[in-house]
């Protein structure tokens, strides 16, 4: 394929015209040639419900045994038939999987997940979780559109920077920022469609968190209170994201976490994606993966019941029958969702996992 050469508008280094980001400085480019490589998760995204197509999964009412009408409700008792939007899973590669579930106490599933991954374990993965704000209109549509838009941006870009560790980090952070922009655009698009939302002061909005694995590099970015944890099989578990929330502000001012996260305002977030957000620039963090473990990305539907990183590591230990290293990602994610539902299922629950087993260091030149 003829890949013409052009120049980065930011740092003026020569770049291939198919690149979306500058290899040198990470600046976003406007590719003039389509990326030849397929989006890794294209096949899996076919199986996920489109926001507009909330497919009903049963023809017989689970409440009364009546017939489910084409509008998605029982013709006798009116119960809503479960849809794919209520509960769906994704597994783009054997080592990366997610479960997204309505929970028990919320009528709709306003959480969304979207994944992409290469087949080779530990090589390359993208995980996005968005949690729709329940007091806003059409947040279930907005969150799914946002998660997928961000996943598509992150999944289609493979810029590695100049090959040095720091330029790779810069490149991935630039990708994350572009992905957040795309997610934000998607949410605004939903609000634009549902003009009602804007008019009533409840425009669609959602949180955003993304984790990008590039071999032993993990970069995360978040807006709101959905989280990424690193849970090594041995050693100390850590939360990699810091919530944009009232609770977090209280924690920062000295209130103990347990107290702040159960207070009356604990679920109020201070930043989000949506027309009325103060700003949607993701707060990013980076770590080098140096040992086997799990990357856990989740919404507050899980962490409400288990907030401290070390407690989550213990939970994963227990849920996987004492051997987290041997657990299958989709099974483990499902088990964690079941556990949250068993605690009351007060909110929608998203659990996404990537298994880091044998380390596959990236081939980088030593920094000068």
């Amino acid at each position: 394929m003829d890949d013409a050469v052009t120049e980065c508008p930011s740092c003026h280094v020569a770049v291939a015209s198919s690149e979306q980001f500058c290899e040198a400085c990470g600046a976003e480019l406007s590719p003039t040639v389509a990326v030849a490589e397929a989006v890794p998760s294209e096949a899996s995204s076919q199986a996920i419900p489109a926001p507009q197509d909330l497919g009903v999964t049963a023809a017989i009412c689970q409440t009364c045994g009546g017939e489910v009408i084409s509008d998605g409700y029982c013709g006798t008792c009116g119960a809503r038939a479960p849809t794919l939007r209520d509960h769906f899973t994704e597994q783009p590669a054997a080592w990366v999987a997610a479960v997204c579930d309505r929970g028990i106490r919320h009528p709709r599933n306003e959480d969304a997940v979207a994944l992409a991954a290469d087949d080779e374990p530990g090589s390359r993965a993208v995980i996005v979780v968005c949690d729709g704000v329940s007091s806003s209109i059409d947040s279930d549509v907005a969150s799914l559109a946002a998660a997928r838009a961000a996943r598509d941006v992150l999944g289609s870009s493979r810029s590695q920077g100049m090959g040095t560790a720091s330029s790779l980090v810069a490149a991935v952070i630039a990708r994350l920022e572009a992905a957040t922009d795309a997610a934000s655009e998607a949410v605004l698009g939903v609000t634009h469609l549902a003009k009602v939302g804007a008019a009533t002061g409840n425009p669609a909005s959602c949180t955003f968190v993304a984790a990008v694995v590039e071999r032993d590099l993990l970069v995360v970015g978040s807006v709101g209170d959905s989280r990424v944890y690193w849970l090594p099989d041995a050693g100390t578990a850590v939360a990699l994201t810091v919530d944009d929330s009232f609770a977090q502000e209280q924690i920062a001012s000295g209130v103990p976490r347990a107290e702040a996260e159960t207070g009356p305002q604990s679920h109020a977030i201070t930043r989000w994606l949506g027309v009325d957000t103060p700003n949607h620039s993701p707060t990013t963090a980076t770590m080098t993966l140096a040992e086997p473990g799990w990357i856990l990305v989740c919404s507050d539907g899980l962490w409400n019941y288990c907030s401290e990183a070390q407690d989550l590591a213990t939970l994963v230990q227990k849920t996987s029958g004492g051997s987290p290293a041997a657990a299958e990602p989709l099974t483990l994610a499902g088990a964690l969702v079941d556990w949250a539902n068993a605690q009351g299922g007060q909110d929608n629950i998203s659990v996404a996992l990537a298994r880091i087993q044998s380390l596959a260091p990236r081939s980088t030149r030593e920094e000068a």
């Binding site: 029982c74 119960a79 919320h106 329940s134």
Partner: protein, 426 residues
């Protein structure tokens, strides 16, 4: 072919233990075409004119002009007739063939009808029940009619038959044709004529003086001719075990449809809505459900518009139980608006009824509440009409004084307009 759409306005969130779901469903029709032109059957029109002695020379002449104005609006091919009403009903057109029939409109029948109308003389009393009974019989002589509509004009009280007789006649005519009713001057009784209009799915209004009669008739007939959908029903499905608290039309006027339910099946009722032109109508549906657990969702109602057996539009009314107060305490503006407008209509009618029997305390309270509701819901027309009957001290508090001298026409205009609603300001 006409297109129908249905939009639902509601707060679907119910608190723990909540049972009652309210929704406003806006049904809009476009592309209705003209009456009798859809190939679904013919259209029929009857003009019923009061020719009692009280009409006098001036009003009879105005009524003749009004009938002519109406006849001019009737589309060629429409079946029609003219009835002259007094203490008995008489065929004014067509006549002379020994049986009750209608004729189709064309140049010749139009000319003949106008000439028949010019023979009206003011004579005799008033028995509106006989007019309705004759109209129903005349319509029944043309089996091809799918759309039957009449305009009824009166100037006085129904003195020459008992209220029971009138009721009997109304019941006999119900479902056989629609009837828009107009009263000229101030000697007729709004409640009496409203009873006819409501039963026959028509409107009621006042024509203050004979001079405005022709314009009113022209408008009414033009409107009727623009209703290309002969008949439609509103269908309301509610789940097993649920109770339909009420089904109300709330725009353009308030009409309680609840008692007009015809069973489609055990869970679905049909409510006749008459003929449709290019227009929107709003319906307020209230359903009582058995409470479900937090996080559960169910359908509270399917609200459909059906033309014949075909469902042409559907709106879904939902219920979701939530523990989130910010969701469950939200008040839907459309539901609130029309709840207020319905109460406004009741307050005006009850206030005027109390005033008529000299119960000034009740009249002051009810009309005060009406002033308050009209202000709250932005119904400026009602406020203007109320201001002619009461002196308004404070519209927000609803403090009013009954005016000592009130023009009877103003009072009647307030009464007839009481059921007219305004739409929600967006």
């Amino acid at each position: 072919m006409a297109d129908f759409t249905a939009e639902v306005y509601q707060n679907e969130f119910l608190p723990d233990g909540g049972t009652d779901v309210h929704a406003i469903v806006t049904v809009t029709c476009t592309g209705a075409g003209a009456a009798g032109q859809a190939g679904q059957g013919d259209a029929g029109e009857i003009v019923i004119v009061d020719t009692s002695g009280s009409m006098g020379e001036v009003n009879i002449r105005a009524a003749q002009q009004a009938a002519v104005a109406a006849i001019d609006q009737i589309i060629d091919g429409t079946w029609f007739a003219v009835i002259a009403g007094s203490h008995e009903a008489r065929m004014a057109f067509p006549v002379g063939r020994g049986e009750l029939i209608m004729v189709q409109m064309d140049n010749a029948s139009r000319t003949a009808a106008k000439s028949a109308v010019s023979m009206f003389r003011a004579d005799g009393g008033t028995a509106m029940g006989t007019w309705l009974t004759l109209a129903a019989r005349v319509f029944s002589t043309v089996p091809s009619l799918a759309q039957k509509h009449a305009i009824l004009l009166t100037d006085g009280e129904n003195q020459h038959e008992t209220p029971e007789k009138l009721t009997e006649a109304i019941n006999g005519a119900k479902g056989r044709f629609q009837c828009d009713c107009r009263g000229v001057g101030s000697d007729w009784k709004v409640a009496e004529v409203r009873r006819i209009a409501q039963a026959l799915m028509g409107t009621v209004d006042i024509i203050p003086s004979g001079a405005e009669m022709a314009e009113t008739f022209e408008t009414l007939m033009r409107q009727s001719m623009s209703r290309g959908v002969a008949a439609a029903t509103l269908r309301v499905w509610a789940p097993q075990g649920a109770q339909v608290l009420f089904v109300r039309q709330v725009s353009p006027t308030v009409e309680d449809l609840t008692s007009r339910r015809q069973e489609v099946n055990a869970l679905t009722g049909a409510f006749p809505t008459g003929s449709w032109g290019d227009e929107s109508r709003d319906y307020h549906v209230a359903i009582r459900l058995a409470a479900k657990g937090i996080g559960q969702e169910q359908l509270a109602a399917r609200v459909q518009l059906a033309v014949g057996d075909n469902v042409v539009a559907q709106g879904l009314v939902k219920a979701m139980w939530s523990s989130d107060d910010t969701l469950t305490t939200r008040i839907n503006p459309e539901v609130a608006h029309y709840t207020g407008q319905t109460e406004l209509a009741d307050a005006i009618q009850e206030g005027l009824a109390a005033k008529a029997i000299g119960d000034d305390a009740t009249a002051t309270a009810k009309l005060g509440r009406a002033v308050q509701l009209a202000a709250e819901t932005g119904n400026d027309e009602a406020t203007a009409k109320l201001a002619k009957v009461v002196d308004i001290d404070d519209p927000n508090a609803g403090t009013v004084r009954l005016r000592r001298s009130v023009d009877k026409l103003d009072e009647m205009a307030l009464d007839t307009a009481s059921t007219k609603t305004t739409r929600v300001k967006k």
